[in-house]
Amino acid sequence: MSAEAQIRNYILENYLFTDDQSALDSGDSFLDKGILDSTGILEVIYFLEDEFSIKVEDTEMVPENLDSVNNIVAFIGRKSQ
């Protein structure tokens, strides 16, 4: 499964509580769309660190890295380089 599919499914299952793929666009902002609250982002970070064996630094906890599926995919890509 691609990273994007993994992240999409995680968000759909854990925050939108559905398996309907049309419920989430990969460019949707989690905060603007009300998908995550501010503690929800901590859960996403736990998930990313577990699944992708990365460590998210405090300075990296910014919307540019974590506020959409696309942003996360790009962030993980950069971290893995």
Binding site: F17, D37, S38, T39, I41, L42, E43, M61, D67
Partner: protein, 642 residues
């Protein structure tokens, strides 16, 4: 403390029968296990279940005036009854008991509907004036004692709890989906809504008069913060001195009782204030009760021990485990009679059980101090957000947010830039009186995503602006903190803390809570305090702390506020499996049968909670909100036992 119930014919319906009244009052036996009393006359029937606290031998209700033309049943306490009695006797009124109840009928004779203005107390009163053929129902100012009513088939039915109304076969049982959305936004239904269709609450500070078949409701008192009454000239020392005298008097009045009075002790400032005042300024032997948790995140036992040692009190400590919460939660909902979004009432029900086991019936408790003196984080959070809104592009102004919520394991301020985005919500609503509450309500409303299509279609959507229905004229002109206080007092305090987490879980064990911070003289005094004396910088309840300097340990006076909380979703799982009743209520068939929620989404939430992955407020409130709604449906709509 007691329970009341009654019926009034608005038309020429059959007279209320003893059997009808007995059914209704028996449903609230827990509120008054010491005996029943009844009155009926043509159009009206009154019933009373008594918990004897004042005038144990002579205080049975209903109580009447000299010629028995005025009859009253009453739930609560009139703390200034001795002073009122003296005044009424001087005016020629003759008393036949020593109870606080009797002052009500004579005050009514003397002052008519204005009688309520003389009362310092917590009460729900039903008074029948036979000469004028009118029924007067009144509820205390802050909403400490409950009163529900419904009108159906030419009759008005009223009672301390909804279960008394549902005990009558004429009253139908259905969840009000607008009210449910209000719970899932504001934490409580907005008056006059209860969670049930066609069952209303008499709002706090209101009087209902029923005369010639017509029902009139008027507000006789409200929290009020006009700018012109704020006193900017008085020094901080003068304020502190006056407040100390007032709090001593409030505690002294609320200790009046013919049975021993205890006190809750949380380890926080508010209960420390009360216990210290009892110890230092009264002759009452200090008997205290506290709750602690296995989970360190919620536990305040060390602060409680500090205070117990400092005051030398005879103390009972109850340790609450997660499994205790899971096990007791259905009983909590049986008493709360509403959906709730937190489990926090549950440990307090266990605590009131410990009070009862110690043979106490009455406890003083610290609720209301946060609303009256500016103690909540939401007030500080709003102060920072308002400060930020003056320069929305500023990078350093929102950094102050990081000073909020230091006690949370999963703090919403832990994720830097995300925190700022979260608290940025609603900055455009700066001028709205509910500006402070937008982040909380937005998080709570996440529960709505679990509604079924049918439930969504059945009622108009509830938004933040629905709150405007209960706001007073002119609130936009008040100081921002005063706006925040008003909304908090009418939603969280009156709609949740004083009922689901207050009266109901105490009365579940026949325990009366008393609230010295909600003495209306204290509320009115604090309404004149400049905002800076409530929150100095980000130091909450500044004036209350100043007032208590030297009377409570410095470790408690200077500690950061830790709101009372309890473990939520994790209380309902053992080894990753839901408790049996939880599994049953979350099953696809039960969710579909009830119809409120989407079975697939609720199942996914259940699984997330079972995995221990529900860390944030949103998921936990959703889980508790759904479970409590299903318990309401099970117990009240379908009539299954607890």
């Amino acid at each position: 403390m007691c329970g009341i119930a009654g019926i009034l014919n608005l038309t020429d319906a059959a007279s209320p029968s003893r059997d009808e009244l007995e059914r209704m009052i028996h449903a609230v036996h827990h509120r008054g296990p010491d005996g029943y009393g009844f009155f009926s006359h043509n159009r009206v029937g009154l019933a009373h279940a008594r918990l004897s606290i004042i005038d144990l031998a002579g205080g049975d209700q209903p109580i009447h005036n000299e010629d028995q033309t005025i009859q009253v049943v009453f739930n609560g306490e009139i703390f200034n009854y001795l002073e009122l009695r003296e005044e009424l006797e001087k005016l020629g009124h003759q008393f036949y008991t020593h109870s606080d109840t009797e002052v009500i009928v004579h005050l009514y004779e003397q002052y008519g509907d204005k009688f309520v203005d003389s009362l310092n107390g917590q009460f729900a009163i039903a008074l029948w004036d036979n000469n004028k053929q009118r029924l007067v129902i009144a509820r205390d100012r802050a909403g400490i004692r409950p009163l529900f009513y419904t009108e159906t088939a030419g009759r008005l039915y009223f009672a301390s709890e909804v279960k008394s109304l549902f005990a009558h076969p004429a009253i139908s049982k259905k969840v009000n989906l607008t009210a449910l959305q209000e719970v899932f936004t504001f934490w409580s239904a907005l008056p006059p809504n209860s969670l049930f269709d066609n069952i209303q609450v008499l709002p706090p500070g209101c009087m209902m008069v029923i005369e010639q078949g017509e029902i009139h409701i008027d507000r006789y008192w409200d929290w009020d913060f006009p700018n012109e009454q704020i006193d900017h000239d008085k020094s901080a020392d003068e304020w502190a001195e006056e407040l100390r005298s007032l709090m001593i008097d409030s505690v002294r009045l609320q200790l009046r009782s013919d049975v021993p009075v205890g006190a809750y002790l949380s380890g926080g400032l508010d209960s420390s204030v009360l216990t210290s005042l009892i110890k230092n300024y009264t002759d009452t032997p200090l008997r205290t009760f506290s709750i602690g948790f296995e989970d360190e995140e919620f536990d305040e036992s060390s602060f409680q021990r500090d205070l117990v040692d400092y005051l030398g009190t005879h103390h009972t400590h109850v340790l609450c485990k997660r499994s205790d919460i899971g096990e007791a939660f259905p009983r909590v909902i049986r008493h709360a009679e509403t959906a709730i979004v937190r489990t926090a009432p549950t440990p307090l029900m266990l605590l009131s059980g410990a009070v009862r086991e110690a043979d106490y019936k009455v406890v003083l408790t610290g609720e209301g101090a946060d609303e009256v003196f500016g103690g909540y984080d939401i007030f500080k959070e709003a102060k920072v957000r308002r400060f930020w809104s003056h320069a929305p592009d500023s990078e350093w102004r929102p950094l102050i947010l990081q000073r909020l919520y230091p006690y949370l394991k999963h703090s919403p301020t832990a994720s830097g830039a995300f925190t700022q985005r979260f608290f940025q919500q609603g900055l455009e609503h700066l001028k709205k009186p509910f500006f402070a509450h937008i982040p909380r309500w937005a998080t709570t409303q996440r529960i709505m995503q679990f509604f079924s299509e049918e439930a969504r279609a059945a009622a108009p959507a509830v938004g933040f602006s629905n709150i405007e229905r209960i706001l007073p004229e002119g609130i936009e002109q008040w100081k921002p903190l005063n706006q925040d206080q008003y909304i908090e007092a009418h939603t969280l305090l009156a709609g949740y803390l004083l009922c689901s987490q207050g009266d109901r879980v105490a009365m579940a064990n026949s325990i009366e809570g008393r609230f010295p911070f909600l003495d209306h003289r204290v509320i009115e005094f604090a309404a004149k305090l400049p905002s800076r004396y409530k929150i100095m910088g980000l130091n909450e309840k500044y004036m209350l702390k100043k007032t208590m300097k030297g009377l409570i340990p410095e470790s408690i006076r200077s500690r950061s506020k830790q709101p009372y909380r309890a473990p939520d979703s994790q209380s309902f799982f053992k080894d990753g499996k839901p408790l049996d009743y939880v599994e049953e209520l979350f099953s696809e068939s039960r969710i579909k049968q009830a119809g409120y929620f989407n079975p697939k989404a609720t199942n996914m939430l259940l699984k997330k909670c079972a995995r221990g992955k529900a860390l944030g407020f949103g998921d936990n409130m959703a889980f508790v909100g759904i479970l409590s709604t299903m318990l309401v449906d099970d117990q009240f709509i379908r009539g299954n036992p607890e």
